[in-house]
Symmetry: C2
Subunit: 664 residues, 2 copies
């Protein structure tokens, strides 16, 4: 039996994958074996990429949404010449390798997003395609196509079952994102067995209902893959789903088409049988024929040429429209306009004040014109979140140049799409919903923290202060639960000026998500001639009344409860107890300060302390010394006007005073 | 203009709703006004219910998934004679009322589930319909129909956009739940404005793709509503979606068909105009014509008759098959079989031991035959979660009598459906996935905690101990984030015998969810002749080595890290430091113990303490005294064999010893 070069290329993707999984004694060989034909065609005939420069701005994006098949992606990266050596492949899933169990964007060159939690990659890709369409609309009008690429993904039945993908698919169809092309690995097998156990819907019909263009093919027929991909590329106003009927564990005599090839090594003897069946030498491991490698490595030359052509275009554009190229590049490189924070509004003292969501809206009005990369939206709460800046145009199908996205009631897709937009580059995404619904998008927030992705969440209605909507809408444990995530800035400003600084911190925080917890109800705007500057917000916590030089007690709070802390301070002062008030808008930022600053704010010598927050007490202990010193909530809230709730639940200055006096 | 009685009945639903929202100066009038025709027809002509006994086992279930329209439901409950007075309607959204902003199942008689967070009610209903089908399959074979009811819901565009509803819809179609009938309030308006802003998919086509039976009607044409409902009832093997084209804020001259009628009071003058337009007296508030009330209150007689007929059937069945009726009633009443916990397996001491997920599977094998109400499943991780008991049959379309559900990769729908099954009664639901994916179903867990719903989660692969799958699959902050939720038992057993007691606690905990965090890797089964009985698990924390009578130090841990704590104890003991080891499987249960017990376990006199857990340290402070005393993780994990991870991340007995010695 004589194999063609192409056959050997495809089989090499398979053998590398099965060998690496076997050596690690852990991993998922079946999917790479099943999708090798599709991957081969896409990566060697369609994908516009430059393995020597994985960060080339106008590359096509390729997402392995079915992240468990990571060895498919690592095989492709190694073969086509990315900076991922064969030793890394041999170190699959080992300590310190660049080949972790599931792809991680911040670890491996050429990996576009972190996948594994199903559905996320699907929705990330929708975000990337939207970022592409947006940048194209903003910067291609001179005729120089600075942005012009496809977003491809391989998605699995698991991806399609997850709600987040369904939300994103509906929105992608609505937005007519024609340059989105997904290959569905329709292998009829899930971990539990046949997809018939739980997944018998008509996938094609569903996606057509969303407005997608669908083609069904044999996923091992490479000519059919070519033709379908070309057809998909030719449909400009619909995302495409190419349903590829494939065989998981392709070619494994005893494990093809079974769940047993999904998540475990095939075993040495089965690998030998499989290689023999392919017509390859069963004795060889991690083997790559020289001509096979040479064929894949053509991507380096093709990529260099493609990038050079784009460079020429960029330079031509720069000559004619230097300001356009400058703005485009500054966005793609994540540079902020100089002195962008000069436009941060300052709010005058006002005892009546305003809700911090309102202040946030005014900040957005001010900074949106200055920072074109800010592209935001809301999960159908625009008027409540106040996320739409006055100058922001609406993003719609065929009008992608706007900066405001109506996500619909799809919090999870919003979060995952923000991750995708951010990873694409050129966009600083923000999105709004109620704080209580942070639970709906939590998996996306976690991946942003884990993968160092900038994304800004505007979480309004941040406590029982929302009042009558009741416990289903009242976040109580959410601040604690969000602070539990690492590399996530959870910020809860106490007034309008702190809100402005929180936005400044969020925009500047390029390596992780930022969450703003904002009130529905009005808060006084503090008189900063009397109290310390709100710039202290940037350090996470700061003393509001430094004039009290030898405090006997410290009262701290975040957000709306700073007002209560200040009232408590007045009461204590009236009783002759000099008291410091510390505003704590962000635990994480405070924890990053040096020891001297932290000691200056919370001197070890003053252990008489209390904190007050309209949430569970958990999490404050490092600052108060114990949970008992926190005035907080121990129930899910109730439906009533918010003033009643604060009284009934004992979130009062008097309760804070009592905590302090009990310690004196 | 002369109005028919029927017209006045429908308008009364509308006027009560708009008056209550106006009086509260808060709420959502538009939806009740738009869906009053549908609600009237369903509640007075189709719904099998007995307002005098809202807990009648065989009532039809009615869910207002669009929970913001709560006044629609409260109006119906008052009008048809539930124990909800007109004063309660007038106290809408006020402190202490039974009419909170969004419906809460544990507060208001006749409310079947807590709704408001969109998509949840939709998925709850799928769970209820599945519970119905299951009970019918188990107990109707004698010809006596103990269980034979429909599950109705009103769902909104927001419900349909949410991922959780899409997951549940796909599964409902797969399972052919023909007695599920949903009315889609297709009013073309969302909070942001027209649904055209973000939601232009073909809903009917999508649901047909899932296998649903769809009918599109004018939602104000009551004859069409009647006919469509009859047709839906007549389709036994497909869930039905009746797409009702409606007008939000129906009849409001200036606000109908606008978002402004969605979430704010109409205003007194607009209310007057609207009532005038209806042909009603604009001066009257909270007014109900006597004949209107009488018409609605016929439901009391109809309901009493329906329940009496069912009682007759039940008694006939009891005569012929007393054991069937006894089992059925014990399930519906939430009674556990006597001495059910006698079957809890005891595992012999074994240094090699077993994974706690494995022990959990063996416990399920033992208790499943004894507790027929246990109906479980997994989100496509059956073989990993080990949730399928040997004797459990598979639930499939037309074969609902089984007790094992293949949920597919749909964690969120699983959680919400479990809530629905539990609320239906007759089922103690449990479901499995990896602990890291608790984030995907967190909104459902929260609602279970808030609404006192029993649901058991089997969360396996509970730490970096899962090894090579890497950080995307490694829960690190999840234990803390789940412990942050109130009325949720988060249990993490240290060995096989603790696992058995955790199951016992979970089955007995009828008023909230229980989460079992279980290992992938083997743990030694402790020698209980040497250490204290695992029965201490039921108290949340207990001393493993009470023979150390005057400890100088306490080391505590949960789950897999108890092994590390015990090694640390040996090392300390060898250095002459008598040390107590406390296993802490459940914070919540421990916090519920009396002060004497808590003091006995953690004596205030011993402040030299450390804890070790493969997660973030947050949350242990009340037991250790400070976060610094916790050996934990401060990163998202890594991909490598788990032994390497424990070493590299310093989760070792030596680290625990160092913590203790630093305090001595």
């Amino acid at each position: 039996m004589s194999l063609t070069l192409e056959q050997r290329c495809v089989h090499t993707i398979r053998t590398l994958s099965m060998d690496a999984v076997q050596k690690a004694n852990s991993g998922h060989p079946g999917m790479p074996m099943g999708m090798a034909d599709v991957a081969f065609v896409v990566w060697t005939e369609f994908l516009k990429h430059n393995p020597a420069n994985p960060k080339w701005h106008d590359r096509d994006r390729f997402i392995l949404s079915a992240g468990h098949g990571s060895m498919l992606l690592y095989s492709l990266l190694h073969l086509t010449g990315y900076d991922l050596s064969l030793d890394e492949i041999k170190n699959f899933r080992q300590w310190g390798s660049r080949t972790p169990g599931h792809p991680e964007v911040h670890i491996t060159p050429g990996v576009e997003t972190t996948t594994g939690p199903l559905g996320q990659g699907f929705a990330n890709g929708v975000g990337m395609a939207l970022a592409e369409a947006h940048l194209a609309a903003r910067y291609n009008h001179t005729g120089h196509k600075l942005t012009d690429h496809f977003t491809y993904a391989i998605v699995s039945d698991g991806d399609l079952m997850e709600g987040v993908s369904q939300e994103a698919a509906s929105l992608a169809g609505h937005l007519k994102l024609g340059k989105l092309i997904y290959f569905y690995d329709d292998n009829k097998i899930t971990i539990d067995g046949s997809t018939d156990l739980a997944f018998t819907e008509n996938v094609q019909q569903r996606f057509e209902a969303y407005g997608w263009h669908c083609i069904t093919i044999d996923g091992h027929d490479r000519d059919a893959i070519r033709e379908a991909t070309r057809k998909a590329q030719a449909v400009p106003d619909k995302p495409s789903l190419i349903l590829c009927r494939t065989h998981i564990g392709f070619g494994s005599p005893n494990k093809q088409d079974t769940a047993s090839s999904h998540g475990s090594p095939l075993g040495n003897s089965e690998i030998a049988l499989t290689k023999k069946g392919y017509g390859l030498d069963p004795e060889k491991s991690f083997h790559i024929d020289e001509d096979v490698l040479a064929f894949f490595r053509r991507e380096l030359q093709k990529g260099a040429a493609a990038e050079a052509a784009w460079d020429t275009q960029l330079e031509a554009c720069r000559k004619a429209h230097p300001e356009i190229v400058e703005e485009y590049l500054s966005r793609m490189e994540g540079r902020l306009p100089e002195n962008w924070d000069d436009v941060r509004p300052e709010f005058p003292a006002d005892p009546k004040g305003m809700a911090t969501r309102k202040a946030s809206g005014l900040v957005l009005d001010a900074i949106t014109p200055k920072i074109p990369a800010l592209v935001g939206g809301s999960a159908d709460l625009s008027g409540s979140n106040l996320t739409k800046a006055q100058t922001a145009g609406i993003v719609q199908a065929g009008a992608y140049g706007g900066t405001y996205i109506h996500y619909g009631v799809r919090e999870h897709a919003m979060g995952s799409m923000m991750n995708g937009m951010s990873l694409h580059g050129g966009v600083i995404p923000f999105g709004g919903t109620f704080l209580v619904f942070s639970d709906y998008c939590r998996p996306a927030i976690r991946l942003a923290g884990l993968s160092h992705i900038q994304a800004i969440y505007v979480f309004t209605h941040d406590s029982i202060g929302l009042g009558e909507d009741g416990p289903t809408h009242q976040p109580v444990e959410h601040l604690a639960a969000l602070r539990a995530m690492m590399n996530v800035l959870v910020m809860r400003p106490a007034d309008a000026n702190e809100t402005a600084y929180c936005w400044q911190a969020a925009v500047a925080h390029k390596t992780g998500p930022s969450l703003l917890a904002l009130t529905r109800q009005n808060l006084p705007t503090l008189d900063r001639s009397k109290y310390a500057s709100a710039a202290g917000t940037l350090r996470g916590a700061y003393v509001l009344n430094p004039e009290v030089e030898a405090p006997q007690a410290i009262v701290m709070a975040s957000g709306s409860e700073v007002e209560i802390a200040m009232k408590a301070q007045e009461l204590l002062q009236a009783e002759g107890i000099p008291t410091r008030v510390v505003s704590v808008p962000c635990f994480e930022l405070f924890d990053q300060q040096d020891a001297a600053y932290r000691e200056a704010v919370l001197p070890a010598s003053v252990q008489v302390r209390a904190a007050v927050e309209a949430g569970i007490p958990m999490g404050w202990e490092p600052y108060t010394g114990s949970r008992d010193k926190v005035v907080g909530l121990t129930n899910y809230g109730a439906s009533a006007p918010f003033e009643t709730l604060y009284e009934e639940f004992g979130l009062t200055a008097e309760a804070v005073v009592a905590k302090i006096k009990a310690q004196l």
